[in-house]
């Protein structure tokens, strides 16, 4: 285009603004064949199916967090231009959070991989050369085949960021038939505490759902309900209704946290507490409830195990939860530990009882501590004492979607041998007897090559080199693994270590059925469909995994008989046909799909309370204060006493199987590191962060810190350190150091610094020596038995740095 012409176009753009503003009309409808007003937009595939200015709306499901909200996407001439909530969908009812709103910037992100690539240079160089899908899949299949034929299948690591649903099942199937115990998710570093409390006390390894809409009281232990909580959208709707939709009635929400977070400021009451002492407070509240005879006697008697002292079949006497509470956690003692006054403890306990049904809950972050499992169990046990489990207005066990599993594909002999091996992360073995996976333990194990060497790693929705402490350790660990494959659509720190990148499609380009995070209790399936043609030469990872399995061949390939991922999904969808009391009662798959395409999903809204068999799948068939599963697992540890001593666990005997509290263990001495780090996940955080999405970067508060990594300080602390807002400071912890921008937040506790996670630099650079995002500052410490990563127990010092 000539220069003059270009200027004219700019001028016309200018005028167009005037037309729209003055006339108020949309631009649509005045386009000529040769459109001088057209935006200078790049070509996209799929425009052929559209007429000029033609728009179509598609229903689908969001994937920006695990909430599984239904969305409606407006597509004009093949370009997605708007995402709204789907009014039909029971989780969000037409609303949508900030992450969901910014999905378009994920779809049209300029840094996306345009097709499969192979590494072209040393690991971490970030140099790629295009490769064909067939070659890549063929080579990966061949390597996996070799590994398996050498009998080393157990050395294949599947790092899977999808916490539930069919995609997770597909990875799990692959792990089983291939023969590796190392299908590792990220939950030890996110909601691991809650998950394990449920697994041990309910026998159900899934986080709880809540009957928000008819509850009478909500007590949050560091629950970031209005921030990065996967049930946030649903809870925001509910909290709003709990406050304002019932004339004359308002449900109280109390937030307990050391940091005066957004959630704390929006709560009816905020209770300040010392870091990592939530468990002690929960036990103190329980003490008051039990001491005053206020617990739900009937529920405790009929539906719980281990409340009173008891004797087992062998005649051995065991301590009951009641005795533990009454003896060990009087309010005076709890007040000293937590810093919450005795008066407040007594009052909160009374309020909980007086406003039943009440919900006591923690989020993953609150139970993310070296005393995490005991903390999560203590908080959860409050619900049982109040009799608010499986009852209206209380905590309920999420009912899974009723789809049948795929036909069983049993492992062959080789696979069985691999599956029987100890997991590389040590979970389930004597290293971490109570863990259900411990992703942060992997780098050490990989680098040590013990108990065995890692042969290959697959990264699906995973970037541990960024989103876990010790990023550099991860980088080193990846360099020891002969084959690393990443499915990430965008470059990231872990992907830089990959030999192949097989880019996944974004959620607006693929067909999928997803299981939302538990929120309402009744079964919900969200439905996702492509709203635009795939922009690049990408493939959905479900398809690629099936193709890789076929390339491995033998029994592995046989277990994946489907041509496409979609066929595999549809096979299981069959079981949703003719389900009465569901949103779509369809006799044919095509009708079911049509309904789901409209509503963004399928659900079965009728919820029956008090389904004890669903709620308690423990050995006793009851809610277990005393977890027999924990007892069984600990009994299997050789020389438990020595192990406990070696790890500094103080608790002994029955108390280990009951809700209990251990002293937090801070990394770094208070003398050297005077501050405690409060690492938190803000509303813009999704798993691994959202640092690549401009819209989400720019909702940072304070605004001027958008795009920076910030450290938050109390005004008086800042004054003492001679730091002003916007200054650059160096934050040092025993784990690492980083330059950060100072933000002065009056709600910060003195002696504590707030660090929002996931806000690292973008684009990531291969040669970046400090891939931070906040995680690099955190000590890689965890619950010594359950493997829950701590986010609360790192100390830091902070010094002023000259502006550069």
């Amino acid at each position: 285009m000539k220069k003059q012409e270009k200027q004219n176009t700019a001028r016309r753009d200018f005028l167009r603004g005037a037309l729209a503003a003055a006339g108020g009309f949309a631009l649509a409808g005045c386009r000529q064949t040769e459109d001088p007003y057209a935006l200078n937009r790049p070509a996209v595939p799929g425009t052929a199916g559209y007429g000029t200015h033609q728009e179509k709306w598609f229903s689908s499901a969001c994937s920006q967090c695990w909430a599984g909200c239904g969305i409606r996407v407006r597509v004009v001439e093949g370009r997605a231009v708007r995402i709204d909530g789907n009014v039909a969908h029971p989780i969000n009812r037409g609303t949508l959070g900030p992450k969901g709103q910014s999905g378009l910037q994920v779809l049209y992100h300029p840094d996306r991989f345009k097709g499969p690539v192979r590494r072209d240079g040393p690991r971490g160089s970030g140099k790629w050369t295009p490769v064909s899908w067939d070659t890549a899949i063929g080579e990966i299949g061949k390597t996996l085949q070799d590994i398996r034929s050498r009998g080393e299948s157990r050395g294949v690591l599947l790092l899977d960021g999808e916490p539930r649903g069919m995609m997770r099942d597909l990875w799990s199937r692959f792990a089983t038939v291939y023969g590796t115990p190392n299908h590792v998710d990220h939950r030890a570093a996110s909601d691991g505490g809650k998950l394990l409390a449920m697994a041990y006390m309910h026998g159900v390894p899934e986080i709880p759902a809540y009957d928000w809409n008819s509850t009478g009281y909500v007590l949050g232990f560091g629950a970031s309900l209005f921030e990065s909580w996967c049930q946030s959208i649903h809870f925001m709707r509910s909290s709003s209704a709990l406050r304002r939709n019932m004339p004359g009635k308002r449900v109280k929400f109390v937030q307990i946290s050391p940091r005066h977070s957004t959630t704390a400021s929006r709560a009816d009451e905020w209770v300040d507490i010392n870091p990592a002492t939530y468990g002690a407070l929960a036990l103190g509240l329980s003490h008051v409830i039990v001491r005053d005879g206020l617990c739900d006697q009937e529920f405790v008697k009929d539906h719980t195990f281990g409340f009173e002292d008891w004797t087992d079949a062998a005649g051995k006497k065991h301590r009951g939860y009641k005795d533990l509470l009454l003896t060990d956690y009087p309010p005076e003692k709890v007040s000293k530990i937590t810093g919450v006054s005795k008066k407040t403890i007594e009052r909160l306990a009374r309020e909980l009882v007086d406003h039943r049904p009440a919900i006591a809950l923690a989020d993953g972050g609150a139970a993310a501590a070296t005393n995490g499992l005991g903390t999560a169990m203590s908080i959860h046990a409050l619900n049982a004492l109040l009799g608010n489990i499986e009852r209206p207005g209380g905590m309920v066990v999420q009912r899974p979607a009723p789809y049948a599993p795929w036909p069983d594909a049993g492992p062959d002999e080789g696979a069985k041998k691999g599956l029987a091996s100890e997991r590389l992360d040590g979970s389930g073995a004597s290293r971490l007897p109570l863990a259900h996976g411990c992703i942060q333990a992997l780098p050490d194990a990989i680098l040590a090559g013990a108990p065995y060497a890692a042969q290959a790693a697959f990264l699906y929705r995973s970037n541990p080199a960024f989103s876990k402490p010790g990023g550099k350790r991860w980088t080193e660990a990846f360099q020891k693994i002969p084959l690393v494959v990443s499915f990430s659509p965008l470059p990231d720190e872990s992907t830089f270590q990959a030999d192949f990148v097989l880019p996944d499609r974004t959620y607006l380009e693929r067909w999928e059925v997803v299981e939302p995070v538990p929120s309402v209790g009744h079964p919900i399936v969200s439905f996702r469909q492509p709203v635009v043609e795939p922009l690049y030469d990408t493939r959905a990872t479900g398809d690629v995994l099936i193709q890789i399995a076929k390339a491995v061949g033998g029994p592995v390939g046989d277990a994946f008989p489907w041509d496409t991922w979609r066929k595999a999904v549809e096979e299981r969808l069959q079981s949703l046909l003719n389900v009465e009391d569901s949103s779509i009662v369809a006799g044919k798959l095509s009708d079911l799909r049509k309904g789901m395409e409209k509503d963004s999903g399928w659900w079965s809204p009728g919820f029956k309370f008090e389904q004890w068999a669903d709620a308690f799948r423990t050995p006793s068939g009851k809610f277990e204060f005393y977890s027999q599963e924990i007892a069984r697992k600990l009994a299997a540890v050789p020389d438990l006493e020595r192990e406990l001593t070696a790890r500094g666990v103080v608790t002994r005997g029955d108390d280990l199987c009951l809700p209990h509290w251990e002293l937090p263990r801070f990394s770094g001495s208070a003398a050297e590191f005077p501050f405690t780090v409060a690492a938190y996940r803000g509303i813009e955080y999704a798993e691994g962060g959202s640092r690549h999405v401009p819209w989400l970067r720019e909702i940072s508060l304070p605004r001027r810190d958008a795009w920076k990594q910030r450290v938050e300080l109390h005004p008086d602390d800042a004054k003492e350190l001679k730091l002003a807002a916007g200054d650059t400071a160096r934050v040092e912890t025993p784990a690492g150091s980083a330059r950060m921008s100072v933000a002065i937040i009056p709600g910060m506790r003195r002696g504590m610094i707030g660090i929002p996670l996931g806000q690292g630099k973008w684009p990531p650079k291969p040669d970046d020596t400090d891939p931070s995002g906040g995680y690099a500052l955190l000590a890689n410490a965890m619950d010594p038995l359950a493997g829950i990563l701590t986010l609360q127990e790192t100390r830091a010092r902070i010094t002023r740095e000259k502006r550069t």
């Binding site: 609303t95 910014s102 009056p746």
Partner: protein, 266 residues
């Protein structure tokens, strides 16, 4: 069509509506052919400060991102912004978050100072900006007591691929002009056109969640509608004892009404 509703509109507006919205409203002069008067209510007791409204607005109205260079200079543009107000400090501190669109004042100071007539007030009460007429003098940004007007310090920049998600219903703005919230007037026009084609009268439900911010709000804190209709959601909420407007003593008469936050009481 609902005759009862129509009757209400015709007769009751003048009396009740005017009383609710303050005396001396011009609407009483035209009871038969009453104009719409667009307004918004924002319930701070519902709001959770999630900022979905902020992102929804940016997406709907093609508001450019400022980027790492411009943000520290406070050059970010937010037609819908989130103000964080902190009082006191830990452990006594409290924080308040206010979603703040343009107030679309009935007595807008910005309109008075514009030397070229680029800023105007529409018949339906929307304070608009004609970008082509704007000379970038920034008198209006100074006159606005709420800082709800933004100057484009540079041409809007999107990475090439991200141009695809621009909303075709809203033009982008060039360097050197002031821009602001329009109450999503493109959506208002669209729904009015559609109703005309369908031959039906618009109802409160058509507007309640019409602007992008109101539509997305998970807590349903933002409501939109006709303040001349005494039965509209915004009129009803506007009569709440919790209702207040920002800097009311300035006499700007904002049409964005906030509802005070409440706390649980025994």
């Amino acid at each position: 069509m609902n005759p009862t509703r129509r009757d209400v509109l015709k007769t009751v507006v003048a009396a009740v509506g005017a009383a609710a919205l303050g005396a001396g409203e011009a609407l009483a002069a035209e009871p038969a052919k009453k104009k719409r008067k667009w307004g918004m209510t924002i319930d701070l007791d519902r709001c959770t400060a999630c900022q979905a409204c902020v992102v929804a607005c940016k997406s709907e109205n093609n508001v450019p991102c400022a980027g790492p260079d411009q943000m520290p200079l406070d050059r970010g543009i937010y037609w819908m912004d989130m103000l964080a107000i902190h009082e006191g400090s830990h452990p006594e501190g409290r924080s308040q978050y206010l979603p703040t669109p343009c107030n679309h004042c009935e007595n807008p100071p910005c309109v008075k100072v514009c030397p070229v007539g680029a800023t105007f007030q529409s018949e339906e009460g929307i304070v608009g900006q004609i970008w082509a007429r704007c000379i970038g003098c920034r008198y209006c940004t100074t006159a606005c007591p709420y800082s709800r007007r933004y100057f484009n310090w540079s041409d809007p920049v999107w990475p090439e691929e991200m141009k695809n998600h621009l909303n075709p219903d809203v033009a982008t703005r060039p360097k050197g002009v002031v821009e602001k919230c329009t109450f999503c007037h493109q959506r208002i026009r669209a729904v009015q056109e559609k109703a005309k084609v369908e031959g039906r009268e618009l109802e409160d439900g058509d507007f309640r969640k019409l602007p992008a911010c109101a539509q997305t709000c998970p807590a349903e804190a933002i409501m939109f509608g006709d303040m001349n209709d005494p039965d509209s959601t915004v009129s009803e909420l506007g009569r709440s004892p919790r209702a207040f407007r920002l800097l009311e003593d300035l006499g700007t008469r904002p049409k964005v009404v906030f509802l005070r936050e409440a706390k649980w009481k025994e």
